[in-house]
Amino acid sequence: MSSNVDKVWATLEHLTDPEIPVVTLRELGILRDVRETADGVEVVITPTYSGCPAMGQIEDDVRASLEQAGIAARVITQLAPAWTTDWMSDEAKEKLRKYGIAPPHHTPSDVSVVKFVRRADTAPVACPLCGSSNTVVTSQFGSTACKALYRCLSCQEPFDYFKPY
């Protein structure tokens, strides 16, 4: 019964993020579900940042992969529950680090986001290149909305930090 679903998972398993080609959509938590419905197979994806320009590309990539594999499935975009970087697996975080992007810390679960705004920065962000925690933020926004710019004071290299969302 689930053979179509398995086939879709297998097809999309290795599909990577267009801007961070070392992690898959599944590892990032963008690919949420594949399910069998009365009207055929549905692939559920969820947007990261509301305005992320990669979302259109991601949807196109999913459709193209399915088409190439000869699978008829609908792609549904679902907003809730809102995407969070906490869905990233430890494996995905390690891949990010090796790629030169400091992986996101856990989002604060005990305090509301409103409080988070006023909270001083907590745990230091470790440099993905040399591992030092002696780093400083250069800007809250980097090359994309999901990343902040940091600088390592030990090895002097600038790097991106994938922000908790």
């Binding site: 907003l79 986001v113 409103v114 705004v117 006023r118 926004f141 909305a145 969302y165």
Partner: protein, 260 residues
């Protein structure tokens, strides 16, 4: 009772108008990092506006689409706060790119983001599940916008003599426009009655506390308010909105139904 469309348009128009304004800094930022930051803030805002317009179009039905709502309504049909359509400079200054004042940009982003983290936080409880889902995403994004603008507010206010003076001038110029936050428009009243919107007035004490605390840290003074309260959210705008929309809507209107 479903969500009043005018309420969704109010939220969407706020986001799209400020997104368009802040995007004017793209390629003109005072430093590279801020150029990138403002472009990213704009992307978030335009993304939020798209989700809200999509929801409004869905409720409106017929041939309504997000693009029609953004590009084919005129200034008097926009429901954004007047604060958000003002140019990036004080009153009675020219329109040239060189006239843009970053303190004005930062102060406006700070005042609006402070309001919106409180608004989105409350809208998580909206009976409109789609609106609550949009609020959940927007809250995460807006908290970064507030973080960014608050940081810079303190840096500029507690910075050099000139940065302090310009930040104070921006606060004096923009603070009166925030009075519009606290009046209740028919759309807001209807949304509250339907259990899908929030009573913004109830957020005022917390907004005041957050703003006062930041201004104090930035060594800036909050001006006393008296005078005219703007009514952008019921469609009565300043002359600045038409210019902004002229630029934003020009391409879509010159080439209707164009795709790329």
């Amino acid at each position: 009772m479903s969500t009043p469309i005018d309420y969704l348009l109010h939220l969407a128009d706020n986001a799209v108008v400020l997104g368009q304004r802040n995007a004017e800094w793209c390629g003109h930022g005072p430093i590279l990092e801020e150029d990138l930051a403002l472009a990213n803030v704009s992307l978030d805002l335009i993304g939020q506006a798209r989700l809200l317009y999509q929801r409004a179009a869905e409720l409106k039905g017929g041939d309504a689409t997000e693009d029609k709502l953004a590009y084919f309504r005129d200034a008097h049909e926009f429901r954004n706060y007047t604060l958000l359509e003002l140019p990036h400079h004080g009153p009675l200054v020219g329109y040239a790119a060189a006239d843009r004042d970053y303190a004005t940009t930062i102060v406006r982003n700070f005042l609006y983001s402070t309001l919106m983290v409180l608004v989105w936080d409350k809208l998580l409880q909206s009976k409109d599940a789609s609106l609550a889902a949009i609020a959940a995403k927007s809250l995460k994004e807006t908290s970064y916008h507030l973080h960014h603008s608050r940081d810079w507010l303190v840096r500029l206010g507690d910075g050099t003599e000139e940065s302090h003076a310009r930040a104070q001038a921006a606060v004096n110029h923009l603070m009166p426009y925030t009075e519009e936050f606290w009046t209740t428009s028919p759309a807001e009243g209807a949304a509250v009655a339907a259990g899908v919107g929030i009573d913004v007035w109830a957020l005022r004490p917390e907004w005041d506390a957050m703003v006062n605390e930041a201004l104090e840290e930035a060594t800036l003074t909050r001006p006393n308010f008296h005078g005219y309260v703007t009514e952008g959210k019921v469609g009565l705008h300043s002359e600045h909105l038409s210019y902004l929309l002229g630029e934003m809507q020009g391409l879509a209107r010159a080439h209707p139904n164009a795709t790329w």
